[in-house]
Symmetry: C2
Subunit: 322 residues, 2 copies
């Protein structure tokens, strides 16, 4: 009953649904659940913490024999880590945020499909020039780091330059209607983060999960506040969408002041240390409007795929949307 696309063909998976490699949140249990349900699970390895990755890969392999992959931050990854990751033989390596040029040939020479996530049309052109096997077009609606393009017009613009290279839509997709929209826009599938973040399989505390389920998009903000508060080395061009909290509200549109405020940074660090929700960074996208429960990822994949087929059928059968 799945929708067959260039993505499902490339990876031999049932559904064109890819787990976003959310750093530290998309671990072995979540990636295995998505893969085992017919999607493509990705481990969110950040810059490449090999200890964390080794442990999560063990968990993953104990739970599924289906294809899975690893996502890495291009601005943070080191060559030795990439070699270690390649040695794990994932079905795909995703490079996001930063210049993928130094790593593209290494991945390709190892015979591992390379996906490159992009947030601008210029970066999409570079990804294609580097021979990416998949381009992920991420819109500003996404949770976590990103840039300013809206997913709806960005995806078809990337598709128009991608030729036969499959494009994934990312940012703002949480259900089958969103997946169906991605597909008719010309994408070969959807990369989904926040919706899977709010599952029991994600590496998140119960309080954090409950906050995502309770939140609406108006409770999110895209800024540099949480990066500035911890002197994060993230490249300046990327902002992050998170749930608003007392700390982000305090510093909203006052980023320049926060940059040099040592007292505020100490206050932030102490708040995070004690697990205070007024300070804790919770990455979450605008799709929180569409998340009303903490349904397990293992069931979500099939439901999203079914809903996508239903959404397409509802329109093509000419019946007015309910």
């Amino acid at each position: 009953m799945g929708v067959r696309t260039a993505l499902t063909d490339l990876f031999g998976v049932e559904h064109p649904i890819v787990l976003a490699p959310m750093g530290g949140v998309a671990g072995g249990e979540l990636a295995a659940a998505v893969s085992d349900a017919g999607g493509l699970g990705l481990l969110g390895a950040g810059g490449g913490d090999v200890d964390w990755l080794g442990r999560e890969i063990d968990i993953l392999k104990a739970r599924t024999e289906k294809p899975w992959g690893i996502g890495l931050l291009a601005w943070a990854v080191e060559a030795a880590v990439l070699e270690w990751v390649i040695a794990q033989r994932p079905s795909v390596i995703v490079l996001s945020f930063g210049d993928p040029a130094p790593f593209a040939s290494t991945v390709r020479d190892a015979g591992i499909p390379l996906a490159i996530q992009v947030t601008t049309l210029d970066d999409a052109r570079q990804a294609l020039d580097l021979g990416a096997d998949v381009v992920v077009a991420q819109g500003s609606e996404a949770g976590g780091h990103g840039e300013g393009r809206g997913t709806l017009p960005f995806v078809p613009a990337v598709v128009d330059i991608a030729g036969a290279t499959p494009v994934l839509a990312a940012g703002g997709i949480a259900n089958g209607r969103g997946l169906a929209a991605a597909l008719v826009l010309g994408a070969a599938g959807a990369m989904i983060g926040t919706r899977f973040e709010a599952t029991p399989e994600a590496l998140l505390s119960a309080d954090e999960r409950a906050a995502i389920v309770a939140a609406g998009a108006a409770d999110t903000t895209r800024d540099r506040i949480l990066d500035l508060a911890q002197d994060s080395p993230w490249p300046h061009r990327f902002t992050a969408r998170t749930l608003r909290n007392r700390f982000t509200d305090t510093w909203h549109e006052r980023e320049d002041a926060l940059r040099f405020d040592t007292t505020a940074k100490e206050e932030f660090a102490a708040g995070v240390d004690r697990g205070d929700m007024d300070y804790l960074p919770i990455w979450a996208g605008e799709a929180v409007d569409l998340i009303a429960d903490a349904e397990p990822a293992s069931a979500l994949v099939a439901r999203i795929a079914d809903e996508a087929v239903q959404a397409l059928h509802r329109v093509t059968s000419g019946t007015p949307p309910a």
Copy 2:
């Protein structure tokens, strides 16, 4: 061959394609072209310039006998103007930007369908409480004034609370793939602005039209610069997406300084007066990435509708996107 939706049923039109009522740009010729081709043309009356409207309605009526409507700015319209507009018996009145509450019952009591454009979920709830016949969910990708939500996740969130009330998707839609995406998200159609702005029928200079065709989304910016430069009375919550030019680049992220800079405002007024493209406000959305020519509106409507059907068929037939 059209897609039948709650919108096409409500207005008796062939295609679920609505011309955005772009103030001063969507005049009689453009609205008539869209309506005559089977869409729903709307005149962009701004706050309600009755002289302009009277002239453009005459032009429109000389060219089509199909349904058409009028869009008004809720923050700017006066009761007497609304009565005059109602007396023209449009098929729909669209209220955008600002509180529609003072006007909703007047429009409804006159027996004219009321559409309310919204940019937040709270405003969507208010529009439904006011008994709107159509809710337009506008995303940040749109050209001209708007707010911060992304169209792709915003539309299904509005659909989920709208019950049987038809929802239109607005912001970032320029072709049939975008219309198809709107429909599978649950919308009953798409409101399209920038794509129609770049047609010969729009009230735009040749230079302005050429600038839109040449631009990419990275050439747009959403801010308050052009409103501040002319001491515009637009409500502060709404920013505007325009083509970047020398003036907007100069004041990017320096809006507080511009607010009180009399010299800059005089420089801006003089630049606009002489038609200098370094200063002229050209409202345009992220969909400019998808606009490569100035195809006539009369042909566009049918092409967008056909492409939408093709996009849906391409996915449902299971063939990978090319």
